[in-house]
Each structure stands twice: as C-alpha cells, then as structure tokens.
C-alpha cells in the first residue's frame, strides 16, 4: 500500500478555512462526536492534506511527454499555468460548493445513518478543499512573471464563493430536500471520481499526488449515494418512504444533465490531454460516465422490480428492468446550458425532441422537482429564456 504523508497548510489559510467551516458547516463537531458510533472501523476524520506517491514520475502524454512531472508551478508556463490553476480552482470550488448545498438539507435526512453518512461526505469534501488549498499555498512559485499573487487571488475568491457563484453549475443549485443529498452523491460525486482518476496523471506533481487519498474517500460518497438511493427506490416501489418514484425521476432529470456538463463540451478537453492534466478527452469521459450511469439505473430498476416481485430471480428482474425502464435517464440534449447554441435553441424535452421555447418553461415545471421551480436558481434560468422570447417572435 502506498505511503500517505499528511501536511497542514499555512496558518493564514488554515484559519480562513476554519472560519469558513464555522459559517458553512457548523455541524462538523457532531460528526466528530459520533464518528465511532457510525464508522467504528474507519480512522477518525482529520483536517490535513494527504499526499501519496505519484502514479508515474514522467508526463506520459501530450506536448511535454517524457518530461519529469513538474514539482513546482514555476516550471509550467504560458497557457499551461493558467489552465492548471483553473482546474485546481474548479476542483476546490466543487468541494466547498457541495458542502454549502448539503448543509441546507442534511438535517432532514430520513434516518440518522443517512444523516451521518452525508455529514461524513461533507467533512471529506472539506478535507478535499483543504487539500486544494495546500496545492496552491504550499508552493511559493505559484506566480507568473509580473504577477505574484495568482494563487492568493484564487484562494481569496474561493473563500468568498456561495451557492450561485461557484465555477460549475451543478454546485449552484440549492438542495430542496434530502433526496438531493443522495441523488447528488450518486450522480455528481461520480463525475468527481472520473475527474480525480483522470487527474492522477496531472503534470503538476503535487496535484497528481493529491488524487489517490481523495479518490479513496470519494468511494465512500459514491457507495453512500448508491446504497441510500437504492433503499429509497425500494421503498418507493411499494409506496413506502418519503418519496415516490416520480419524485426520484424528477431528481434524475435535474442532476444527470448537470453531471454531463461538468465534463465540459464534448468537443473539448484537447488541451487537458496536451498538458497531461487529464487522461481522457471530454467525449471519452462522458461516454464512460453515461455507460456507468446506465448500468446503475438498470440496477435501480431491478431493485424496484425485485421489491415488487420478490418471487422473481435476480437474473429475471435484471432482464425485466432493461425492458420496463421504470426510472429513465433523460436525453443528453435535455437541460443543457453549454450546448453552444443560444438559450432559446436548447429547449428539448426529456426524450430529446425539440420543444417550443414558449412551452418549455411550463414543461420544465412538470419534469423537474416542484420545490426547485420556486427557487431563485430556476427563476434566473427561466428569466433568461423569457428574455430571448421577443427576439424570437420578431425573427
């Protein structure tokens, strides 16, 4: 097993993050108090940056193939430096953003076990943010000729972000009930796992060395998301529990498109390969993700059928699940904001059929979670569509 070394960050940022945690994640003490009750076999959570050995010493793809991975940021120049910074910032923003989202609804989780699992997820996301702060603050060479504060500016910006101002849209959506905590862990954290896995080959060694410990923790998030969502589906299958299958479907309609957009445009990702920041193009990564989610959804459908028909074998329900598709993935064209088309041209239904922009907003209120439709987030999106309407009429 690879050795893990732990570090703390500069006091200035350590204190700033603790202050951030007091404001955004006050329940961390509760988790620490009951850790042994819910996770007796796992080492206690600690706020440190964890580094493992890098997977490979040399950059093994792209423009700098064969060069030793960069130990200092100074060695990266030109676009590479800014792109590395952008990726680290986006990574950190997702960690902080998800805590802010989870916090709104964690106390409404339907069991204590689920609640403490979500608290653990939040604590680990907080450690991941701490890790990214370490990546940017431990290396004084994070500067470029003429500008010595690019890392500092980024860290300050990260500390000031809230739901609504994060880098990726998935982290700007307010959770409206604890089904969001679970669906998010299942769909969005899975994208996180893809990104972390690809970033194990990151050309900047301190970032690459951060990935394995993060991945290990991310596995718990996915497992929690999957197990609790499955449990909720099984209950819903027989009319039990707090949510119906229709409620679950609406959450899938919300989170799946956001997850896809986290990968970036299908045509993009070329420079991440050239700079060896990631190991797959966006298209490849999206393809892999969709495949995994399709399998997952099929398993959920099978679990639903099994609960309804306990007499059937696992194999039978699996086959039936494929045919009946009780829960379905929306089309990859549905609710996409980064399609490259104008907002009024990206109005598709869940089956991928173009839908009139005039009908679109009403349609969304039918297929998305009801409570979401009364949030500022939804209002802001639909306002942008409405603003485009007169132009279309004139055209």
């Amino acid at each position: 097993m690879a050795a893990i070394n732990e570090y703390t960050i500069d006091k200035k940022y350590h204190d700033a993050l603790i202050e951030w945690q007091r404001k955004n994640f006050p329940d961390i003490g509760l988790l620490e108090k009951y850790w042994d009750v819910y996770f007796p076999n796992d080492p206690a959570w600690r706020l440190t940056a964890k580094l493992s050995e890098v997977k490979a010493d040399l950059i093994n793809q792209g423009k700098y193939q064969g060069v030793k991975k960069y130990a200092t940021a100074r060695e990266m120049k030109g676009s590479m430096l800014y792109q590395a910074l952008r990726i680290i910032k986006a990574q950190c923003s997702t960690e902080l953003g998800s805590i802010q989202q989870h916090m709104d609804t964690v106390n409404t989780c339907y069991t204590d076990k689920a609640k403490f699992s979500v608290l653990r997820i939040m604590a680990e996301e907080f450690r991941h943010a701490y890790q990214m702060f370490w990546v940017l603050s431990h290396d004084p060479s994070w500067s470029t000729t003429g500008s010595s504060r690019i890392a500092e500016n980024t860290l300050d910006e990260l500390l000031s972000m809230n739901t609504g101002s994060h880098v990726l849209d998935a982290f700007n959506i307010p959770f409206t009930d604890s089904l969001d905590n679970v669906t998010f862990a299942c769909f969005i954290d899975r994208v996180g796992r893809f990104q972390l896995t690809m970033q194990e080959e990151f050309a900047y060694a301190p970032m690459a060395a951060s990935m394995r410990p993060m991945l290990k923790e991310e596995a718990f998030h996915l497992k929690t998301g999957w197990e609790v969502l499955k449990e909720i589906c099984e209950m819903a299958a027989v009319g039990e529990g707090p949510w119906t299958l229709a409620d679950i479907q609406k959450k899938i309609n919300l989170w799946y498109p956001r997850a896809l957009e986290m990968f970036g445009s299908e045509e993009g990702g070329e420079s991440n390969l050239e700079f060896s920041f990631k190991t797959m193009s966006n298209k490849e990564a999206i393809g892999g993700y969709i495949k995994e989610i399709e399998w997952l959804l099929n398993s959920l459908n099978a679990a639903i059928l099994q609960r309804r028909h306990p007499e059937l074998s696992k194999e039978q329900v699996r086959l039936m699940a494929k045919e009946t598709a009780i829960l379905r993935l929306p089309s990859t064209r549905f609710l996409r904001f980064r399609s490259g088309e104008g907002i009024h041209e990206s109005t598709f239904d869940v089956d991928g059929n173009r839908i009139s922009p005039f009908e679109y907003i009403n349609y969304l209120t039918r297929v998305l979670p009801e409570k979401l439709c009364s949030t500022e987030y939804f209002r802001s999106y639909t306002d942008r569509i409405r603003q485009a309407l007169p132009t279309m009429t004139a055209a």
Partner: protein, 466 residues
C-alpha cells in the same frame, strides 16, 4: 532562450513561425516574450527575407489573449500586459522582412491583432471564426486592432466588425480585404509559403544586414547572454536596475538585451510603481563606436522606448562619461541625476532628428546637439540634477518614495507622465483626447476617490496605486 511556444523552421529564405500553446495558441506573456525574441533573431538573420506566422494544429491560428490569465492575474498586471503586447506587435510592424500571416483556423481578438501587423494574410478554406469578440467581454481590441483594422478595411466595416463582436467567415474576410487569398486545407501551409515567395519576387529585396554583422548578432542571440550584466532589485514598489561592470565589457547587443530583460521584468510587475536605473557602472563603453551599427542602435532605441511608454516615473543616475546611445537612454527617463564627482565627465549628445530631443528645447538647446559636453553643463541647463550626498543612489531611492503608494498616487503620477511625454509628440486634438482618456481612467480608480475623500476629511491620503 529556450523556445517552448514558438516553433521555427526555414524554407530557403522564408522563416515559418508556428505558435504552439495548446489548444488555442492563446497569447500569454511567455508566448509574446518568445515571439519578440524570435522576431529579433529573424530580423538579424540576413538569410531570412520573409516570415510566415501560423498556428500549430488545424483548429487555431490564435484565440487571442489568454482570458484565464487576465482573470487571475489582477488589474495592474493586465494593464501592463496589454501595453507589453501592443509593444511587441508594434515592434513587428517595424520589421524589414516581409511578413505573411497564414490563418490556419480560428483567429480571434489578439490573434487577429497579431495577423493585422503582417503585410499580407492568407486564410484556409473552411468553417471557423474570424473576428474581434472583445466588446462581448466588455473591452475593445487594445493592441492596435482598432487602428490597423480600420486602415485595412475602412472605418465603416471596422466599426461593424468591432462593435458587433460577431465572427465572419474566411470568404467574408476576403470580400472586405482582410485576407488576400484563401487556399484549401490540403497543402495550405505550402500554398502560403508559395504565396510569400511570389510576393517576395514582386518586391525589391529588403535591406538586410551584412552577413558578417548578421552572423555575429545571430550568434549572440542563439546563446544566453552572460548572467549579471544587469540586475534588478525591488524595494517597496521601487525597482532599481543596475548595470554592472560586466555590462561594459560585454558586447553592446548583449548588454542591451540584458537591460531589456530587466526592464521587461520591472514593467510587467504589478508591484512596481517607479523605476530607477543606475548607470554609474556603465552601459556601454563610452568610446565604443556602435553608432555605426544601425541594427544595434535601433534595437537600443526600441529598448529605451519601453521606459518612455511606461506609465510610471523612471529616473536615471549616472556619474561618468556617456556615449550618445547612453544619453538617449537618459533622455527616455523622466529625471536624471549625477553627483559632484561626475560633473567633469564628458557626455556625447545625440545628433539627428530624434523625436525625444524635441522634448527638451530649453534643457537641450539645438546648439548643443551632436556636441561633447560635461555633465556640469547639463546640470546648468537643468537636464541633470546634481546630488550632494554621500550615497547618491540611496538618496535617489529615498527621493522616489514620495511617488510611491501610500504617499504618492503613483498611477496619477504615471499618467501625468504619459499625458506629457506622449501628448507632446501629438497634435493638440490627439493629445487632448489622450489626456481625457487618462483622466477618465483615473476617476474610475480607487486612488482618486481616496484623494478626494482625504482632502474633504483633511487627512493624509492613503493611496493604493489603483
């Protein structure tokens, strides 16, 4: 210099420069720095008659200035960067070689501004974007784009292209005269080279350096200049560049390059509010007749113009004999100091029609042009100030602190310098426009608010340099 972002090969007398910073070949300080040096080297190379600029890959010539850089680096850096980028592009326009931009794909913003400094542009067939999207980002093309596009396609078309921020196709670009030819994707670069060759044949051969001088310069450029010719230290916002003893014994070109490097570092630095140059050890040997070497002199002037265009105060300290070129450096600075010991040193005053000389009618009367005079004489005319201090350079550093934040509104001071030095060379309407623009910028900045608040509250202002 190691070239990481500019690939270069030679096809007989045509140099092909390829921008190579994936995926969009965006303009960063590092890329432009390499581009500047590569052009200098090609300029010096007598074998090279034309330069073709293109982008690596099939998708981008250049996506313009790297927005990620602008977003993270801070306002002061961005402002310094744009000035630097404009200077690099301006320097390219002075090239004596024929320059052709081979537009191999998307070309937007600063990328198009780069192509506009070329004498000719050829474009690849296909669907991609050509244009200036700057207004969509809340800015305008700021590296000469508004002026060069207007002169190429006319004001009406330029206005439409820039204010609408929309992209046009290669075909449309040809219609309006933005590109000269369109060639198919297959064999595009070879067609661009052939086009360049045709253009060369139609032109008279450009004046080039003698092969001996060119080879010497090329040799000098191909090796890193010795360390320590010039040093840079920063103290609380004041950058001090010191030319060392080593610089005097090095060849003039290397010394000028070393000075250029330190000037660039100081100029791009967001923490530098004023600059002092210590010439007491010397820049060039006073007896060195480099004035015969037009290339080096021209390069020197380009380096010195970095001081003139720097929106910060620059002072020079020297207490020894100075050559004509060194005196040009002194004139590019805003204030000049010497000490008692240096008063008897001889100074060779420049001759000719240098614009910078016109700025000093009373301190540098026409009668003195081309003469050899003592520093004492220049102290008399007011061009130099004599410091009677034990450590004159320390005194200069102390003197400059009055112009630095928090005591000095360094940006206002720097802008006042630009309004005077740049405005003086312009017609009154242009100079007034410049003044108005600079004033507008200052009113947007935090220092003007602080200055006015402090005035009303009867306290000392605490300027931030913004």
């Amino acid at each position: 210099m190691d070239f990481r972002f500019i690939n270069n090969r030679l096809d007989e007398s045509i140099a092909i420069l390829e921008l190579d910073d994936p995926s969009a070949n965006t303009l960063t300080y590092d890329l432009l720095h390499e581009l500047e040096y590569k052009f200098l080297a090609l300029e010096a190379d007598p074998q090279v008659q034309a330069i073709v600029i293109t982008g690596k890959g099939a998708r981008f010539f250049s996506g313009g200035v790297n927005i990620g850089m602008l977003l993270t680096a801070g306002k002061k850096f961005n402002s310094n960067f744009i000035l630097y980028a404009a200077e690099v592009l301006e320097a390219i326009t002075h090239s004596k070689k024929l320059i052709v931009a081979a537009i191999n794909g998307n070309i937007t913003g600063g990328g198009l501004e780069l192509a506009l400094v070329a004498h000719k542009r050829v474009a690849v067939e296909g669907e991609y974007n050509i244009g200036f999207p700057e207004v969509r980002l809340g800015v305008i093309p700021g590296m000469g784009g508004t002026q060069r596009l207007t002169r190429l396609v006319g004001p009406q078309t330029a206005l439409e292209m820039i204010t609408q921020g929309q992209f046009i196709s290669a075909e449309r670009a040809k219609e309006i005269g933005l590109v000269d030819e369109i060639y198919p994707q297959e064999g595009f670069l070879n067609r661009a080279i052939a086009f360049t060759r045709e253009q060369l044949n139609a032109l008279k051969p450009a004046p080039t350096l003698s092969s001996e001088t060119g080879a010497a310069l090329a040799q000098s450029l191909s090796t890193p200049f010795p360390e320590g010719l010039a040093t840079l230290r920063k103290e609380n916002g004041l950058a001090v560049i010191t030319l060392t003893e080593a610089s005097v014994s090095a060849d003039a070109f290397s010394t000028l390059r070393a000075l250029n490097e330190r000037l660039l570092e100081a100029r791009i630095d967001e923490d530098v509010y004023a600059l002092a140059i210590d010439l007491s050890a010397g820049l060039l040997r006073a007896d060195e007749l480099i004035d015969n070497d037009d290339f080096v002199v021209e390069y020197g002037r380009r380096v010195f113009s970095r001081i003139d265009g720097f929106a910060r105060l620059c002072v020079l300290y020297c207490n020894r004999a100075m050559s004509e070129l060194e005196m040009e450096l002194a004139l590019a600075c805003d204030f000049r100091f010497c000490d008692q010991a240096g008063l008897t040193a001889e100074v060779a005053l420049p001759t000719g029609e240098l614009a910078i000389l016109q700025r000093y009618p009373s301190q540098l009367p026409a009668a003195l042009a081309g003469k050899q005079v003592t520093l004492a004489r220049l102290v008399e005319t007011g061009l130099f100030r004599c410091i009677d201090e034990e450590d004159p350079l320390a005194w200069v550093a102390r003197y400059m602190t009055r112009f630095l934040p928090p005591n000095g509104a360094s940006t206002a001071i720097g802008y006042a310098k630009l309004a005077i030095s740049k405005g003086y060379a312009e017609s009154i309407p242009s100079a007034l426009l410049l003044e108005r623009h600079l004033q507008e910028q200052l009113f947007i900045g935090a220092d003007s608010q602080e200055g006015m608040s402090a005035y009303i509250e009867k306290r000392t202002p605490n300027f931030k340099g913004a």
